[in-house]
């Protein structure tokens, strides 16, 4: 990319000398080299007027200057491209300025109907932290080597609200921007299913249209693939489309809320194909990333709250980015109503209201959940048995009681059959160390935690 910029800058400076200033600035403003392809240079121009004029009047000059700089250039073509909007100036003084009239909810509707991509999702507003850097790196690798089957298919999974959709749509938007000729298509698995069902009900002609439609893309993105579970025929169709695209070196990107191996009733042949590319996960953001995300979101909304508020929000809300965004929106709305910035004291109760209420459970209830999960009798946990099938659930129960419910070691020991507090400490440590290596244990604990 920088090669093109440099080449064009040099070309322009050599042309500049031959023209009057007015002429030069009128015709060469906002022009760039979009790409070079086998000796052909594609120059992006702001509109048809400029295209016409450059072609008729300056074509020879441009070609000659380009050739002087780089001998292999054979020709120049002009293409009208979209000029990036110049950034609007934001209010500097940090005052809260709001219009009295509410806007029509149009902003969410700027979705391109041809490729299904929402232009708001770009890498410019994508925040990278340790929680998603692997997924980001993989997507960048794809962007650099389109159509070479590095990381094909790319499979991104992670919990809801962590930016999967943003990332995969940004891949689409980026490719669209740098390779205007490539056909990009984004679809959710749900829409895909509906389309499939409609085509089936309309008979064989519609079916062949359906089959053709999805095979012509250079980049095929499917979101929320977990919803395909239990839809066997749709999966089969996806399988065929996948094969076709894959064999033609077309990039495929999927997202899901789970690793493909854990999506229930997903056909094995799809699972194995997903595994053939790159499977990366997106974790929950840590504090620094949350801070960066909040700052960026606040800036987008022209809202500049004091630093301590952002910091407080980032430290008090765990997990999901969408929840973070929701909270920030709530605070923006509150400050609109009051027409001033909220203080920390005003925000605290607000967060309390939106944070998930933690259920108050007795130790007995928690133990019951754990025992039900491992399918053992509850009584065994309280007994002095050391059988393996009892030992593990007991240790897990202790670990969860300590980690999630903050119950003291002696109390846990006392409640679980009068054990010593050192036994409890040992159990917690053991589970903690085991979880570092044992994947299935991590999953078990996660699943148990989800039940509370």
């Amino acid at each position: 990319m920088s090669d093109n910029t440099q080449l064009w800058e040099k070309t322009l400076s050599s042309i500049e000398g031959e023209l009057s200033r007015a002429n030069f600035s009128t015709w060469f403003k906002n022009t760039i080299i979009i790409k070079q392809d086998d000796g052909m240079v594609i120059v992006g121009v702001p509109n048809e007027f400029v295209k016409d004029w450059l072609q008729n009047k300056f074509h020879k000059t441009i070609l000659r200057s380009l050739r002087n700089l780089s001998e292999h250039i054979r020709g120049v073509e002009y293409l009208v491209h979209k000029v990036e909007d110049s950034k609007t100036v934001r209010p500097q003084d940090g005052k809260v300025v709001f219009n009295q009239q509410t806007e029509l909810p149009l902003n969410d509707l700027y979705v391109n109907r041809e490729d299904g991509l929402n232009p708001r999702y770009t890498f410019d507003n994508f925040i990278i932290g340790s929680f998603n850097e692997l997924a980001y790196a993989a997507s960048q690798a794809i962007l650099q080597k389109v159509g070479t089957n590095v990381y094909n298919p790319l499979f991104i999974y992670g919990k809801t609200g962590l930016g999967k959709t943003h990332l995969i749509q940004a891949i689409g938007n980026q490719i669209k921007k740098h390779h205007p000729g490539k056909k990009v298509f984004y679809i959710t698995s749900e829409k895909f299913t509906i389309d499939y069902v409609n085509s089936v009900s309309q008979g064989s002609k519609a079916m062949s249209v359906f089959k053709e439609k999805y095979r012509k893309y250079d980049l095929f993105i499917m979101d929320d693939i977990q919803f395909l579970s239990n839809k066997e025929k749709t999966q089969e169709e996806l399988f065929h489309i996948f094969n076709e695209l894959y064999n033609n070196n077309k990039q495929i990107v999927f997202s899901s809320d789970q690793h493909p191996n854990y999506i229930p009733t997903l056909e094995n042949r799809l699972k194995s194909r997903f595994s053939s590319g790159m499977i990366v996960d997106v974790q929950e953001p840590e504090y620094e990333s949350r801070l960066a995300i909040l700052r960026a979101k606040a800036e987008v909304n022209d809202f500049c709250p004091p630093v301590e508020i952002i910091e407080y929000l980032a430290s008090s809300v765990q997990g999901n980015i969408r929840e973070l965004e929701g909270l920030l929106n709530g605070i923006i709305c509150q400050s609109q109503l009051k027409n001033k910035h909220l203080t920390l004291a005003e925000i605290k109760p607000f967060i309390k209201n939106t944070a998930k209420p933690k259920k108050l459970l007795s130790v007995k209830e928690i133990v019951k959940v754990v025992c039900d999960f491992y399918n053992i009798q509850e009584d065994y946990v309280y007994e002095k048995t050391r059988r393996k099938e009892v030992l593990k659930p007991r240790q897990v129960a202790m670990f969860i009681l300590r980690e999630d419910f903050n119950i003291s070691y002696p109390t846990i020991g006392q409640k679980l059959g009068g054990r010593d507090h050192t036994t409890v400490m040992h159990s917690c440590d053991k589970i903690k160390t085991d979880m570092k290596n044992d994947l299935s244990l991590i999953q078990e604990v996660d699943q148990i935690r989800a039940m509370f």
Binding site: R21, A22, N23, S25, T26, N47, E48, F49, V50, K51, D52, W53, N56, V80, H81, K82, D85, T88, Q100, Q101, T102, E103, L104, P105, L106, N107, L109, Y110, V111, N112, R113, P119
Partner: protein, 366 residues
């Protein structure tokens, strides 16, 4: 170059072409119009690099040639010799001489070499429509368009096709107007977004024409062709919001008012409205009462009861009076239907029994 032509015709088209010259651009030649001979015709061309226009008028060409002349000056000259029928224009060595029966003027011209060409669109999707219909479509929605250029997509008019109607849409994100015009034989695969300034120029030109006009559109350009003119404009390469989704399909309260009653009431009430032009509708179906009120701490307040047919739930809602007033001009029916969906949801305004025009207005809060 030497030619003789009709002054009235020349004046009309020079004035029109002069509107499109680029007044503030760094390239001075864009401030002029180009006169160019072509067999038995005189071609008049001007452009501001957003819009370009070309007119052809019949003329007796004696010597072929071309020249660029300051448009405003030439238009003023032609306007101020009203008694003359014919003018003779002669150019030699960059100086243009205009001769009539009684007058003799010389103007300094500019060499036409640097005058831009205007792009001719050959390939693209074509449709034909009468100028009246097109103008009606644009004019009925234009008051809703945004005037600032910050978001170019909505400082524009969106034209697209729904079955056999051509649909014109404009919105500034606070209110939205849609006009549907029946026009068979249209086949547009994509919508086009034309900047509002440019479409106003297009309208000004096609207003002068009587015959049906052919439009050619591509993803980057729109052009209109008639027997004696050609105008082309840049279109915005962007995505227009999928506005159809936000037009409410249902309503909780509906009132039907005589349009003239509403106009009269609005004229009175807006005298009292504040800088946000806020007017408040208070509708009480039980009492069969609809009150339009305004309040301004500096002037005073008004309350008008108007005769309406009311159905649905009681509601109190504030809207921008100017927006309503503007859209009433686009409604041809004598009665107006206003549908509400609650105090913080958008209101829909249409002519009674007429779905060809729809206006959507967001309520004012506070």
């Amino acid at each position: 170059m030497k030619l003789i032509c009709n002054r009235v015709l020349l004046n009309k088209y020079i004035t029109s072409a002069d509107r499109i010259t680029g007044k503030n651009l760094s390239l001075p030649i864009l401030g002029s119009v180009l006169l160019m001979t072509d067999k038995k015709k005189l071609i008049i061309r001007s452009t501001n690099l957003e819009v370009g226009v070309e007119f052809q008028i019949p003329a007796e060409i004696i010597i072929e040639g071309s020249i660029a002349i300051q448009g405003t000056l030439l238009a003023n000259i032609l306007t101020n010799i009203p008694d003359e029928q014919e003018v003779t224009i002669e150019v030699s060595q960059g100086v243009c001489t205009i001769t009539t029966k009684t007058k003799h003027l010389t103007i300094k011209g500019i060499l036409p070499d640097d005058f831009p060409t205007i792009p001719i669109i050959h390939e693209g999707e074509k449709f034909t429509i009468s100028p009246q219909k097109f103008i009606q479509g644009v004019k009925s929605v234009i008051t809703s368009a945004a005037f600032s250029d910050i978001k170019p997509e909505i400082a524009s008019i969106y034209i697209h096709q729904i079955s056999d109607t051509l649909v014109f849409v404009a919105t500034d994100s606070f209110h939205l107007s849609e006009r549907r015009i029946k026009q068979p034989n249209i086949n547009l695969s994509h919508g086009i977004i034309v900047p509002i300034k440019n479409i106003l120029e297009i309208i000004k030109v096609i207003e002068l024409m009587n015959e049906d006009i052919s439009f050619v559109v591509t993803k980057t350009q729109i052009s209109c062709v008639g027997a004696s003119f050609y105008i082309t404009s840049r279109v915005i390469q962007g995505v227009y919001p999928d506005y159809e989704q936000i037009i409410p399909k249902t309503h909780t309260t509906e009132i039907i008012i005589l349009k003239q009653d509403l106009i009269n009431t609005l004229k009175l009430t807006t005298l009292f409205s504040d800088k946000f032009k806020k007017i408040t509708f208070t509708i009480n179906p039980q009492k069969k009462e609809c009150v339009i009120s305004t309040k301004n701490t500096e002037i005073g307040e008004t309350k008008s009861h108007i005769t309406t047919t009311i159905s649905g739930d009681p509601i109190e809602i504030s809207l921008n009076g100017k927006h309503i007033f503007d859209c009433l001009n686009s409604i041809e029916k004598d009665s107006v239907v206003i549908q509400f969906n609650g105090p913080d949801k958008s209101a829909v305004i249409r002519g009674l029994g007429d779905l060809s025009f729809t206006n959507l207005a967001m309520p004012l809060t506070r």
